[in-house]
């Protein structure tokens, strides 16, 4: 794991990535076409994920993180246009024919939604729902599928007779376990978890997280986990990417991004969720005024500058990019620009020293 993760850091920065990575996003953009114009939801995101690695994507609602996740399996509504390249195991997802796309779905990459909400069909038994992908992909006959369902339920810590239950007969945590069992059904290589613990209470959240950690480690599954809660992501993932207004504004190893963020937005997110499952901090990032920008009227320069506590005058015009910010790290902030101007009120310099020491 660690070795792979190390490698990941190297490839992450190397622009000409080697095809060994399981998932490779190259300048991916998603634009919704609505009556009043075009809404850019994701703008030029490039990320890589090696097999067996876990990547966390953080951001407020509206940052484009869920849209990005849905784009990976082309699950977005018809009015969304996806640009760039998404390579899954070296194969371009966006160029796949529909038949191939359907074959890849769930068999190679599956999704864990907020099962506590509406991720499970309310009027079908959960056993049927777990078995469904097996039958659809022809991986098992009904009898074998039933056995596999029992096995999967056991893996997520639920008794086999639960297969006959309906979703509403389960608690939120149990439903989330069912979602995970379902995602494991076809033994995929990648699981995309979209806010898998958001609606759960603290205790259950911790249980589900440790379950996810255990299962991906045991089966060698890669994970992309999406959350607005940086502490949850830092707990599970090796690397973090922080998104704001459709762009990745910072990425790097989890612990470093969580504890020593370079981007002021990441710092605000981290401050909002100091510990895993802190019940009081489940709201908008603390100490950060204002709302996420309207994607149709993005501020010029750095999109974050109107809310940024450490913004400079030039931020409203500067073309910020992901600049290297230490080993295997990058941040899109003027304060980490290679030719960073000396800035008296900034503690960035101090921080850098702290890191390098």
């Amino acid at each position: 794991m660690t070795e792979q993760a190390q490698e990941g850091r190297v490839t992450e920065h190397d622009e000409a990535t080697r095809p060994v990575s399981l998932l490779e996003l190259d300048d991916v953009s998603v634009t919704y076409r609505i009556a009043s114009g075009e809404v850019p939801a994701v703008r030029g995101v490039s990320l890589t994920l090696d097999s067996g690695a876990a990547l966390g994507v953080a951001g407020e609602s509206g940052s484009g993180k869920s849209t990005l996740a849905m784009a990976l399996l082309r699950l977005l509504p018809r009015d969304a246009r996806v640009g760039g390249r998404i390579l899954l195991d070296g194969e371009d997802v966006l160029a796949m024919k529909w038949g191939r796309m359907r074959a890849v779905r769930w068999a190679e990459a599956s999704i864990v939604f907020q099962g506590a909400q509406h991720g499970l069909n309310p009027v079908r038994r959960i056993g049927d729902q777990i078995a469904e992908p097996l039958l659809v992909h022809g991986l098992a006959k009904p009898d074998a599928a039933r056995k596999r369902v029992a096995e999967l339920l056991d893996q997520v810590g639920l008794p086999a007779w639960r297969a006959r239950s309906y979703p509403h007969e389960l608690s939120g945590g149990q439903r989330q376990r069912v979602m995970i069992a379902m995602a494991l059904a076809c033994s995929p290589r990648l699981i995309i978890a979209d806010e898998p613990t958001t609606a759960l209470d603290v205790m259950v959240q911790a249980q589900v997280l440790s379950l996810i950690k255990e299962l991906i480690a045991e089966h060698g599954i890669s994970l992309i986990m999406i959350s607005h809660d940086l502490s949850v992501l830092a707990d599970v993932c090796d690397r973090l990417a922080v998104m704001y207004a459709g762009r990745v504004v910072e990425h790097g190893p989890s612990a470093e991004v969580f504890h020593k963020a370079e981007h002021p937005y990441s710092r605000a997110l981290a401050a909002a969720f100091p510990t895993v499952g802190d019940p009081v901090s489940r709201m908008a990032p603390k100490g950060l005024g204002g709302d996420p920008p309207d994607p149709m009227q993005l501020p010029g320069g750095c999109s974050f500058h109107p809310r940024c506590p450490v913004a400079l005058d030039e931020c409203s015009t500067l073309d910020v990019q992901l600049w290297p910010a230490g080993p295997a790290r990058a941040a899109a902030c003027v304060h980490v620009r290679p030719t960073a101007p000396s800035d008296p009120e900034q503690d960035v310099e101090a921080k850098k020293e702290e890191e390098s020491s």
């Binding site: 659809v136 893996q155 639960r162 239950s165």
Partner: protein
């Protein structure tokens, strides 16, 4: 492999206790059905009581009302009054009325000089035939078109469907009936009429299979009118129900599982949208009843609706009272059945 943690959540503990055997769920359903049946009985009792007082509200002397200005001697009037029990006290009359109604003695029709119950019995068949056929066609058509419109909402087909439904919703039933009668029954200009538009059968009705065809041809126009008016709202309900379902996460999950578009629709979205739709259809059965009265009147279809219309236009208050109670009770019963059926079919409400 992971430790089972069921007990950490109260809901889980509860569910675990109840899930070992199926009986509690059944008992819940039974209790619900009984409660609903009790409510329905109460509603029916209210209908009987309400009917009694409503028909005693009639201004003037009920016997004179019924006589409709025909010359009757005071002795004749008294005799009639006694025969109808109108010389008794109001309370006595009330209990007589309730007792008679419970024994299904709905009185004698003034117009037909026959028991109301017999008349109703004769007219029930044609109404069930017409309203039943119309309902089946309207529901199937409404659901089919509503599904197509909702699945691709915003499409041209959807916009066309919604516009048509709004138009049909605004059209008074009887006017549409008149138009159809004029165009397809009588014929316009050089185009001759195609379908018969009076009654349920021809004067010289043939026997056997030919008779069936004869009745069917008589049914085309009334049925068409009824369907056109009621199917529009089924379409709108199914459409909005489906639009709501497909925005749910589980539909995205189904697509992510690799199901084809039509499989997602057939296996997940439509069955879930269907449940509330079909229930609503039966909850609003009163609307169909109103439509049936109008349609039967226009096409002189010898059903309950026409009988009721005759009672209103004579007016024959005993007949009106009997048909009104029967129609209302039937609607209440259907509502209750729909309610209970929904409870059984939809596991979401079953546990609640």
């Amino acid at each position: 492999m992971t430790t089972p943690l069921e007990t950490t959540e109260p809901a889980a503990a509860q569910a675990a206790a109840g899930a070992g055997d199926e009986r509690p769920a059944w008992r819940g359903t039974l209790r619900y059905a009984l409660a609903k049946a009790g409510g329905a009985l109460f509603s029916i009792a209210m209908v009987i009581v309400g009917t009694f007082f409503l028909f005693r509200l009639l201004p003037g002397d009920p016997v004179r009302n019924m006589a409709q200005g025909r010359n009757m001697t005071p002795a004749q009037l008294d005799l009639e009054r006694h025969r109808l029990g109108l010389d008794k006290s109001l309370i006595q009359q009330f209990f007589d009325f309730v007792g008679d109604t419970l024994r299904l003695d709905l009185g004698m029709s003034y117009e037909y000089k026959r028991p109301v119950l017999d008349l109703i019995g004769e007219r029930l068949g044609p109404t069930l035939l017409l309203a039943g056929t119309g309902l089946v066609i309207a529901v199937s058509l409404g659901i089919w078109q509503g599904t197509r419109a909702g699945w691709r909402h915003g499409s041209r087909f959807d916009r066309f469907s919604t516009a048509t439904s709004l138009l049909l919703w605004s059209v008074p039933t009887f006017w549409l009936g008149l138009l159809l009668m004029m165009v397809f029954g009588v014929g316009v200009g050089p185009i001759p009429g195609i379908f018969p538009f009076r009654g349920i059968e021809s004067v010289d009705a043939p026997d056997g299979f030919a008779y069936v065809l004869d009745v069917a041809s008589h049914m085309v126009l009334p049925c068409l009118t009824l369907v056109a008016v009621v199917y529009a709202q089924y379409l709108l309900v199914m459409r909005s129900s489906l639009v709501e379902e497909i925005s749910q996460d589980y539909v995205t999950v189904a697509r992510a599982k690799g199901l084809r578009d039509d499989e997602v629709r057939r296996r997940h979205a439509v069955p879930n949208a269907l449940l509330p739709t079909v229930t609503l259809v039966f909850m609003r059965i009163g609307f169909v009843v109103g439509g049936a009265v109008t349609v039967e009147t226009i096409y002189t279809w010898p059903g309950l609706g026409q009988l009721f219309y005759e009672a209103v236009s004579v007016p024959d208050f005993t007949l009106m009272q009997g048909t009104f109670m029967l129609i209302t009770v039937a609607v209440i019963v259907m509502n209750t059945l729909a309610d209970v059926a929904y409870h059984i079919l939809d596991p979401r409400v079953r546990s609640a």
